[in-house]
């Protein structure tokens, strides 16, 4: 069973090669008789159209580049799985590019991905430069930033309502009666980290509180160190809002392990994302949920819309982020 071409199918079906092509091309027309003959011959020969050849002509590869930095935050594999499924259902597939979050690395990766003639790009957990996005726009390849926004760039983005979410998290801690509240923030180089912090600060300032804030950089180690710094400092908090779940787990580990404190009795913890692990008994983490399915649907939608209609405008989609109350926080005071 070596490489069957449309020509061989044509010969066997007694039609022209272009007839075969038409049968396998969605928008084309062929008589019922022809379709029948061609399908039969193709079946017998085990023929399937060559995507490469098709891609070269149509300029559409039906591949989407996914640029991702790290997969250790459970949110991203989860998203990847869903994205792949949703895209696959619509006849697209994901080509993976891993990039460290450095300028040079991303630059290199963007070049590679353009070589593959991908129809679109999804970035997750990586930052873009406007220079880069301009280049893709010039090449006519739409980008959707997943879980990140970017000022002044002509790219679509899908995020949760991070400012609002940060505010809600802060407000909830206030409602629980906490007075000394700290924030271990998401990386301040990311819009997501900045927005959540901003919302949180607004809530705090509304209550006349000036919170301690440390950048957790989305790293477990950094978050653990921040936790120690906070708790052994002059004014240890009785509640911590952490920039994402991934760091919150580290914060809880440090609190309960090395520091010997109880959660939520000594310190309440609230995270962001609601990854599956947050619901597991070992953490039972109160968190702001990022509705993954809706974010994925919006991402796929935004991307395919622009692929099918290149002149359609970029979109900035924000999805509401509900509070999921679990055992890492106390009940609000009536």
């Amino acid at each position: 069973m070596e490489k069957i071409t449309s020509l061989q199918v044509a010969e066997r079906a007694g039609v022209s090669q272009s007839a075969v092509s038409r049968v396998f091309t969605p928008g084309a027309s062929a008589s019922a008789k022809t379709v029948q003959k061609v399908r039969k011959a193709a079946e017998e020969l085990g023929y399937r159209p060559n995507m490469m050849a098709r891609a070269m002509i149509t300029g559409k590869s039906r591949m989407i580049a996914l640029v991702v930095a790290y997969l250790d935050n459970q949110f991203y594999p989860h998203a990847l799985e869903r994205l792949s499924n949703a895209l696959q259902e619509r006849g697209y597939h994901i080509l993976v590019f891993t990039a460290a979050n450095s300028r040079a690395d991303i630059e290199e990766v963007m070049q590679q991905l353009l070589d593959y003639q991908v129809d679109g790009i999804i970035t997750a957990s990586v930052g873009m430069t406007n220079d880069l996005t301009d280049r893709c726009n010039a090449a006519g390849i739409p980008i959707v930033m997943f879980n990140r926004g970017q000022d002044g760039a002509d790219v679509s983005s899908v995020t949760s309502a991070n400012v609002e979410g940060g505010r809600a998290a802060g407000q909830f801690l206030l409602d629980c009666g906490h007075k000394v509240i700290a924030h271990i923030s998401g990386w301040q180089g990311s819009s997501t980290g900045r927005d959540r912090q901003q919302g949180f600060c607004e809530a705090m300032h509304g209550a006349g509180i000036t919170p301690q804030i440390i950048d957790g950089m989305y790293h477990r180690d950094t978050a653990a160190a921040a936790t120690e710094t906070l708790m052994t400092g002059p004014n240890p908090p009785d509640a911590i809002f952490v920039g994402n779940d991934h760091m919150a787990f580290s914060v809880m580990d440090t609190l309960r392990g090395k520091l010997g404190l109880r959660v939520p009795d000594d310190v309440a913890v609230i995270g962001y994302d609601d990854v599956p692990l947050a619901a597991w008994a070992a953490y039972d983490l109160t968190t702001m949920r990022q509705p993954l399915n809706r974010m994925v649907d919006a991402t796929v939608d935004a991307l395919l819309t622009r692929i099918e209609n290149p002149t359609s405008p970029t979109k900035h989609i924000e999805i509401e982020s509900p509070l999921i109350r679990r055992g890492s926080t106390k009940d609000p005071i009536q």
Copy 2:
């Protein structure tokens, strides 16, 4: 900046189109002067070779299909990240295909992936049928099964030494003085699950013990239910060997939560994989490590070897699996 072709570069550089091609083709020869002129023109125009066109001629797309079922077991995202990196370094990229672990779904996915003319296939957490692997062999596309083996199929596989690992896990529990030992196994439809169970049973039988065994199917829920069944049964174990870490976390959650038992004081737990989460304080899980980096290197190696030399034989690589002692088990008795 629309689609620059090699012809345009050729004109600007004052050479033939094939000269341009040669400059960008690794194995080809061109004079220093030509290289210089072409590179300059290409740079100015922002030219990069079109992978699709190249792939069509050479028959090499430099894409590897990764077929994966679920990404909720942390072992797989971790592996995916490493695989992508290792492959990217060698000029390949991963095209992702998600498939439920059903015959029909995998069948469909295999067809799709052949359409894309991938150079090789890595399967992770999915089972193949011999029929399917035969088809890929006929098409000349090598397969490596990652973390799974398959009897009687002509495919390469990379696993840890699961039988030996299962035995070591069982023996360790014996050495700790446990007498009533149970096993919540990996899915018995997978070689990995069967092998670990076999090794474990050998250790038990060597000690004259007949263990209770329940298939955990690699699912959290199934493992949780199995835990309850075991602990509320007539002969509750004081140690459980769980088929992988992902289920072991669920077992520990159930033990410590719903059942109110202490680990390891009431029940010792040992897992398999050593995913990052196993080392986190909340679980601190004793486990058999699957050396991810070595498994990934072996996988990439086995795959690229066969791609570059199609007549080379398939390999079955087993990598030793060391015991990582942590807090979910007691110390062995001297």
